[in-house]
Chain length 326, copies 2
């Protein structure tokens, strides 16, 4: 029995209208060497150039924009390992309100600083011992403030899906769409769009080998919880796929590939050297899978997404300097 989705392509089109002139229409870059290395024609959608440096802005803004001003009067609350934090902080400011963000204590400092720069208040927690859900729910309930979830919400998924509309518009017919997988909103939103307007496009998610919750869940046919993964991809360290995102992805996604940390670093280096793009570890997942041959689509027209570029020069140098991460 299939669960009916409660996100439709019409919801994504409505989100696209809400985001027009607010979110950036990010560019698609191509690279002859990437095509050579993969044997495919690859279109790289650069959400690293999205506002706040990651695709998350699309979902956060789309969610916040659906509350009336009086509902937003006391601010909004969110939890995030980083990119959703900045997205909610900026979207809240753009909607004339404030944000309180619950963030892991080990969030990379540039992400903490950027979130503060967007005017948010930050509440830190320990991701290995504290219950972030309890902390966040209490903050929201006590203040009577809307909670903006990072992925498991129809408005967040619809916002993220607007990326796929732009890809189909700008890149033309696409045989496969290869997307980083964390909580699953970007994949779910893009899958919703692709299945409706480009039904022959194969949908492939990519996550870390250390945090393969989506792959395990797909195989099991139900959401599987894993231990908090330890990986350099700090944007995708959740323990379980979202309920709504999993329902959509389980129905629409063909495959989930995994990459290890050394393959992510190799992709980050390739993107820097060859494409002059700054990409954070989570953002490089899909390109890593293509470059490492974990996803092999010879002759195909492949669209992929760089989901974010929020990494400091210090962390970048450290990661690139490590000899053996595999």
């Amino acid at each position: 029995m299939t669960t009916e989705p409660n996100v439709t392509v019409d919801d994504v089109h409505a989100a696209a209208k809400r985001l027009a002139g607010v979110a950036h229409r990010t560019p698609i870059h191509t690279c002859a060497t990437l095509d050579e290395r993969t044997g495919a024609t690859v279109f790289v959608k650069c959400e690293s150039f999205q506002r706040t440096g990651a695709f998350k802005f699309r979902g956060a803004y789309n969610a916040i924009a659906q509350f009336a001003p009086e509902q937003l009067a006391r601010g909004v609350v969110a939890f995030s390992s980083g990119n959703h934090a900045q997205a909610v902080a900026l979207a809240a400011r753009m909607r004339g309100t404030s944000a309180t963000i619950v963030m892991p204590r080990d969030t990379p400092p540039p992400k903490l600083a950027a979130t503060r720069d967007y005017g948010a208040e930050i509440v830190l927690f320990d991701r290995y011992t504290d219950d972030r859900f309890a902390i966040t729910d209490k903050l929201a309930a006590d203040g009577g403030r809307p909670l903006i979830p990072p992925y498991d919400h129809p408005a967040v998924i619809a916002g993220a899906g607007t990326t796929a509309i732009e890809i189909v518009d700008d890149a033309g017919p696409i045989d496969a769409l290869v997307v980083p997988l964390g909580g699953g909103a970007q994949m779910a939103g893009c899958a919703t769009v692709a299945s409706a307007i480009s039904p022959d496009t194969r949908l492939i998610g990519v996550e870390t080998a250390a945090g393969d919750k989506n792959r395990r869940s797909m195989l099991a046919g139900e959401r599987v919880r894993i231990p908090v993964p330890r990986t350099i991809a700090d944007g995708v360290t959740g323990e379980i796929p979202g309920e709504l995102t999993f329902a959509i992805n389980h129905r629409l996604v063909s495959d989930v590939a995994v990459v290890d940390d050394s393959e992510i670093v190799a992709a980050m280096e390739f993107l820097f050297d060859r494409m002059k793009l700054v990409v954070e570890p989570s953002g490089a997942l899909a390109v890593a899978a293509l470059l490492a041959g974990r996803v092999s689509l010879p002759g195909a027209r492949v669209a992929t997404i760089i989901s974010g570029g929020n990494i400091g020069t210090e962390q970048f140098s450290e990661l690139l300097g490590r000899a053996d991460l595999g």
Copy 2:
């Protein structure tokens, strides 16, 4: 008495036609933090996303494309500290011929590798002792092969000027154009365009404090030779401005600002952190001048150019790690 220029805006338009569908029309990026920091509205033209990672491709291709196939039969010759090398190598290959490139022995390894990857043969020289002009001229004369100069040639200047056509088209009215200065072709080409189609735009060049040959030459009213500058900006280490480029720039450019190496590094870090852009030291000159207040244009609409992004991760990490470069 003013020397009549032998590069006109019509030459640049002709170059733009030659380059259409061959060179990338590079994007213009903006950044709220950059505007905040400079007090201006800044449009950043990203030639780091040009083919071969730098603006040089425009001039090299425009020059090579003007030779008949029989003139190109034995290949072309060029000398370059890096970006012109890759540009000539790729342009030669695209025109169905080969390239021999004379390069300094201390060229960053990624630039040597990339030039070889584009199929060129490389001849190394020592930039502190050898006469690169003699070496290059001999290679060209012996082989009966066209020499493609890095900057001091009308076709190279006209090709570089196509950047300014795109800026004026895409960014709208511009009060000032701030451009990295080396041999001077990018500035001369862009100045030729701006003075013709946007005559109120103020033209400002930026070079290194250690290699301020253009500033000195402008002040002297004639080309001044300086010792080979030692700076991290390896793309702008020539000792004297070009004859033709200086004639144009002396006539059209209002100011030449200088930045030191630490200001270049700060700009590279800003561009990485805030704009997710990989930029090499020479490519960051103009943004460095804006961020360091060496060029101050409060309230103005300012276009600037990132002229190249060819830097390896190792060199990047090394430069960013240095505490004191000033």
